[in-house]
């Protein structure tokens, strides 16, 4: 405090506006350094003409919102090592959302790396991206699967997919008036203009700006929702009809099969750890995936039991972190370990 007091005294001869600017700039600089070194990396997202955005290759990622990660993306922009074929040449291509992207845990603790470790000579290429769901995977695999020569494609699914199915606006797998399923690809247009370019530049160069911009965006969205609810009313919750969902999954599965590679689904559920005993948080969604698997005879790896068993044995949840809500959100290292071991066993059976 004495140092600050002395500096304050030394600046006392300058005009107040200059003094204030000096203090503000010094504070911002210190905060920028602190965030950059330990808590948040500048944005590594760039515009993508198909998917809206993608992560830059070889980008340094530090995130501390939920769990903690320091990692560097590979040459394709994914949070994984460079693809290196194993001696046996058995290769699994993993597509999924933020659960598989696993930004919350150390790269070595992610379930696909655990599965590689416990599985014999199986290489898993992780191309998961947060926010994606099945239509994204279908479109992406159609364009990129052949590049990786996979022996098996592993599609990670979870409870949120059904909600995105009914509410998602970008990539949609929809039925037209003739009841035929078709993909709607939005092809976003890159914003232009100096304010967009300045914002992008700031986000690519400043951790503080990236952090503040993301938070401000969340705050504004929440405020907009809140005020809308107050003045327009609360909208009816969108119901995802289970029968529609099964049909939706079935039609998508038929498209996945056209890739000519065996398809395996990996269902990672949310768990209600506060119930005694613990149980799946979204039982309807869980049943839907089971129904889909039995009706369509697809290969579904259901991680529900391993997560429940892990909790029963250790008493500690496989989701949540000490800097977020324990038991909620994404999987922690314990959850990844349970799912990774389970996956290794399953893959060994399928890729002997």
């Amino acid at each position: 405090m004495k140092v600050v007091g002395a500096a304050d005294e030394a600046l006392g001869k300058l005009p107040p506006i200059v003094q204030c600017s000096v203090w503000v700039m010094s504070g911002l600089l210190c905060l920028e350094l602190l965030l950059r070194v330990a808590l948040v990396s500048p944005s590594a997202q760039v515009f993508d003409p198909t998917y809206g955005s993608r992560t830059l290759p070889h980008a340094r990622i530090i995130q501390s919102d939920e769990g903690y990660t320091r990692a560097i993306t590979n040459s394709d922009g994914y949070l994984d090592d460079e693809a290196t074929p194993t001696a046996s040449g058995r290769r699994v291509l993993l597509v999924g959302d933020s659960y598989s992207e696993a930004k919350q845990v150390a790269p070595s603790a992610a379930f696909h790396r655990i599965a590689e470790q416990y599985g014999a000579d199986i290489e898993i290429i992780n191309t998961a991206r947060g926010g994606w769901y099945q239509p994204h995977y279908l479109h992406w695999l159609g364009e990129n699967a052949s590049k990786y020569h996979p022996d098996l494609i592993l599609i990670q699914v979870n409870d949120g997919d059904l909600l995105q199915f009914s509410t998602g606006e970008n990539f949609r797998w929809t039925r037209d008036e003739h009841s035929a399923w078709a993909m709607r690809v939005p092809h976003p247009i890159q914003p232009t203009g100096s304010s967009y370019r300045l914002r992008q530049w700031m986000m690519h160069h400043s951790s503080l700006f990236t952090f503040a911009y993301r938070r401000a965006k969340i705050l504004l969205t929440q405020e907009e929702q809140r005020l809308k609810h107050k003045f327009v009313g609360v909208p009816e919750p969108s119901s995802s009809d289970s029968s529609d969902a099964v049909e939706w999954m079935r039609s998508l599965h038929a498209e996945f099969l056209r890739l000519g590679v065996p398809i395996v689904y990996l269902y990672i559920p949310q768990i209600s750890y506060d119930k005694t005993p613990a149980e799946p948080k979204y039982p309807d969604s869980w049943r839907m995936y089971q129904e889909f698997a039995s009706d369509t005879e697809v290969d579904l790896l259901d991680a529900t039991e391993v997560l429940l068993n892990s909790f029963a044995e250790s008493g500690q949840p496989g989701h949540g972190f000490h800097n977020s809500v324990m038991g909620g959100g994404h999987m922690n290292a314990r959850g990844h370990l349970a799912v990774g071991r389970f996956l290794a066993t399953a893959l060994r059976e399928r890729l002997p």
Partner: protein, 468 residues
């Protein structure tokens, strides 16, 4: 409308703008009165009529009490006001509680009372106590009635303290209406600083602690003993920062408008006894209970037994004031017993007999007081008695296994909070002051706003005391 919402900032800016446009005091008061009703009606406009009813009633009754020389008539008018005000509380706040509590008895004769669908009007406990204190003060002759209905209505509905206090008495506020209240830069500067401190307490401290406290208190049986202990300390912090944050925002907003509102908190967790705790915690309520309930019951003037009984009665009702549930009554009863035991202790054990404990007496007193306060918070926070017992079961279970959750943000907030309390105690109970230049203060305020943007848990969390 809550102080930490966007619409409040827009509303407050409009009020300040309107006040700045006029130099006439009557227009300023009209603006404040209309603004106060808009502020209250923003939640549910229909309840504006309730506050208006309470205002009209007490204005007329107090005026007639003042004008009347007949003791009988004066007493009757006072009784009329009490019955009406407490009746409002009974209907809107306690009806279902009373009916539900009677059910075990009425069930014997086959009568099952219905559950009434009554919405609890926000702030009813606060403004009812304000209007009652005004009428009682006029009756006692310690306060002259307000000069005009507009002034009295402004006293009741003054928006900075309308929904969650501090409970302002007529003797605090009405004399202030004798002078003019133009916008003064010095008031705006000091008020803004105090409002910012309260805002930080609410948004950065209380709301962060709530993220941790709410799930643990919802299902304590699944969490480990240590996590339950941490959540209990976190709740002690949450309720303090939530309520004292609101109070500071109210006092700051009042000061910006040129009005002084009474202090409501003075670092209560530094207390060395439960009696001291109530001199530091929710001061406006404890003062109200003392002057309008404890003292009229006889206070400490009728012997030790009556004193203890009066303390217990006062705190039982004080507990019930907080909420229409038996756990609040139990919380109040425990504080009543605590106060009585402390009074007995200090009366029987003379200070000089404590000399051999000097080295330890202060830390021991602090620890006992803090632990007592912590344990009573379990009843205050738990949804019902069964949750409270389950919570105690986790706290005192020697090997309570369960989910271990040591929320980093909570540990950070509690460390900062404890540091501030220790620093205040080290400065002889004086608030911390940063003797920096004006530009440095502006920079610090901007830094605070940035920290709120970066680290506050978003989502509009209503203030805890709104439900009372």
């Amino acid at each position: 409308m809550i102080f930490s919402s966007t619409e409040f900032f827009l509303f407050f800016a409009c009020i300040i703008g309107a006040l700045a446009l006029t130099s006439r005091e009557s227009v300023r008061r009209n603006v404040l009165l209309v603004g106060s009703y808009v502020f209250y009606g923003w939640w549910d406009w229909r309840f504006c009529f309730l506050i208006l009813f309470s205002t009209v009633l007490d204005y007329i009754v107090a005026g007639n009490i003042h004008a009347s020389s007949s003791p009988r008539k004066r007493k009757l008018l006072l009784l009329c006001s009490m019955v009406a005000n407490l009746g409002l509380l009974a209907v809107f706040k306690y009806a279902n509680f009373i009916l539900g509590s009677l059910e075990p008895l009425s069930g014997v004769i086959g009568f099952h009372p219905p559950h009434l669908s009554i919405v609890l009007p926000i702030g009813i406990s606060f403004y009812t106590f304000q209007t009652m204190s005004y009428t009682i003060d006029v009756y006692r002759g310690s306060l002259r009635p307000a000069r005009s209905f507009r002034d009295f209505a402004l006293f009741v509905a003054f928006f900075p303290q309308l929904v969650a206090g501090p409970i302002v008495r007529g003797s605090d506020f009405i004399p202030q209406l004798e002078r003019e209240h133009p916008l003064v830069p010095e008031n705006i500067r000091k008020g803004l600083a105090q409002f910012t401190v309260g805002f930080v307490k609410k948004i950065l401290f209380a709301d962060t602690l709530a993220v941790f406290v709410d799930p643990v208190f919802a299902t304590p049986e699944v969490y480990s003993s240590m996590t339950c202990w941490l959540a209990l300390v976190a709740y002690a912090g949450q309720i303090y920062y939530d309520f004292s944050g609101y109070s500071e925002m109210a006092i700051g907003a009042g000061r910006i408008l040129g009005y002084e509102l009474p202090t409501n908190f003075r670092h209560p967790y530094n207390s060395l006894s439960i009696t001291e705790f109530w001199r530091r915690w929710h001061i406006s309520l404890s003062g109200w209970l003392r002057d309008y309930l404890y003292v009229p019951l006889g206070g400490n003037r009728k012997g030790p037994v009556r004193t203890y009984a009066n303390l217990l009665t006062t705190m039982l009702l004080g507990g019930a004031w907080h909420g229409a549930a038996w756990n609040f009554v139990a919380w109040g009863a425990m504080h009543g017993v605590g106060l009585a035991v402390h009074k007995f202790w200090t009366a029987k054990l003379r200070p000089d007999s404590l000399s051999r404990f000097d080295l330890w007496s202060r830390p021991l007193s602090w620890a006992l007081t803090f632990l007592f306060t912590l344990f009573t918070w379990v009843f205050f926070r738990a949804a019902n008695f069964s949750v409270a017992w389950a919570y105690f079961g986790r706290l005192f279970h020697p090997n309570a296994a369960g989910i271990q959750w040591y929320y980093v943000q909570v540990l950070t907030v509690l460390t900062i909070g404890a540091g501030i309390h220790i620093a205040v105690a080290a400065r002889g109970d004086r608030d911390l002051r940063l003797d920096f230049s004006e530009p440095m203060h502006v920079a610090l305020a901007m830094g605070m706003i940035l920290m709120i943007l970066l680290y506050a848990p978003f989502g509009s969390n209503p203030f805890i005391y709104f439900q009372f």
